[in-house]
Structure formats: C-alpha cells, structure tokens
Symmetry: C2
C-alpha cells in the first residue's frame, strides 16, 4: 500500500469496509472447501452455543435480516445441516436445530475459522488483536 494512498482511509466507515472485505474474502475462500458460506457458519455457531433460538433472535446474532436468514435456512435444511421445529409455546415461532451432520460440519469448519483467526492475530502485536476486538464491540 502506497503511503499517499487514500484520503478515504481516514474515514472509519472506509477502514472498516476495507478490513471487513479483506477478512471476509480470505475466510470465505477457506470455507468454500466445506461448501459453506460465512453466514451459514455463524448460524451454526449460534445454534451450537445457544439455548433454543427463534428465527428472530438468531437473525440478530448471526447478523442477518429476517428474510435473508429465512432463505439461508431453506438452503441449510436442504443440505441437511439444520431442521426447523415450530415452538410449542408460541406457534408463530420457529426453533432451529443442528442435525448430526450439521454438528459434524460445524466442528470441521470451526477448526478452519480458528486457524484463520490465528493468521490474523499474527499481524498484530500480542495485545493489539484483543484490543481491536474490544474497540469493534463498542460499535455494535
């Protein structure tokens, strides 16, 4: 990167977009091996971590709008990774669960993601990586 480069670089929104683009790009290459998108990985992690999640809660945690989540889940269902179940307490709500296959897939994918995380962390002095995450969380 040249030094004169880019008055835009001082805009937080630009710096964020640039960093996000780069990281998402290289992560997505990794996940392609598993035939999975980043969003699907986030969904699986949320399901694994969580208490019963409704689609709405899941959408928030997985950083997707409800229609986008709906469609992603359609695909994941037909890939056999998750299944839907109508909530008994409120028949409008849907709870989502990982299938056995989904769980296995998630564990495989997780290894790659953590690998990627390590690679990223290496670009920083030891504490900076955590510092960056902490600063980023202030925005969310």
């Amino acid at each position: 990167m040249s030094t004169e480069l880019n008055l835009l670089g001082n805009h937080l929104s630009y710096a964020l977009a640039a960093a996000h683009r780069r990281v998402a790009q290289s992560l997505s290459v990794r996940l392609k091996k598993h035939g999975i998108q980043i969003e699907a990985w986030r969904v699986m992690e949320c399901l694994d971590a969580g208490t019963r999640l409704s689609m709405g809660e899941l959408a928030k945690q997985a950083l997707l709008n409800p229609p986008a989540l709906s469609k992603l889940v359609d695909r994941m269902v037909s890939d056999g990774l998750v299944h839907r179940q109508i909530s008994t307490s409120d028949q409008r709500q849907i709870n989502l669960f990982l299938t056995k296959l989904g769980q296995r897939r998630m564990l495989q994918v997780r290894r790659d993601v953590e690998d990627e995380d390590r690679v990223l962390a290496e670009q920083f002095d030891t504490k900076d990586s955590a510092r960056l995450i902490q600063l980023l969380s202030q925005l969310s």
Copy 2:
C-alpha cells in the same frame, strides 16, 4: 447487549462483520436521502481525490470487484454522475470523471458522511477512534 452474549464475539471476523454491518447500515440510511449507495460515494471520493484512475485501480480503491464496479458505473453514468473516457495511452483502459452534477452531489454527500463519522467517533474516548482506524489498516 447482554454479557453472556456470544462466544462468536471473540472471533475477529465476527466482530468485524458486526461492526461493519452496523456502521454501513446507518451510513446507508443517511445516503439514501441523496439517492446514492455507499459504494457510489466511495467511487466519487476516489475520482475527486485522484489522478486519472483506470477502472482497475478505481476498483481496488473503492473496494469493489471489477464486474461490480462496471455495473455500478453503468448506473452512475445513467444518473449523470460520472462519464467514461477511453484512455489515449492504452485503448483498453477507461478513465472515469465526475460530471458537474457528480461533483455537487459528492460535496453534499460528504457532509453527511463526515457527520456520521463524528457520531461514531463520539462512541470512543478521544484517541481510540484513531487507534481503531490504525489497527484496521493493518488488516488491509
């Protein structure tokens, strides 16, 4: 945000995606008033700042893949914001220029973006905002 929330939050890729989503979302609401997308704003800033840019260089700076840029430019041309010109030195290359309208529009938009930047910066202690940008640039 609840505290137990989200083992995902420790993944840099997730923290980045979350922050980017939030910031892009609120910026995009602002820009909608001008009938413009964030990407178009980036393109306009690059053109304003820069020496003659080819589509390829512009794509890198504006954080778009070449096909996406091509299509965005089509739209911007038909909105009268920019115009294409074949480079004289290499007839494969295209140079892009802001029209008068494009320049005016860019200045209006820029005010809103800088406003948004100020709002974001307020979420941090004084130095942290610059620190965040600096850390982010290490990723790009």
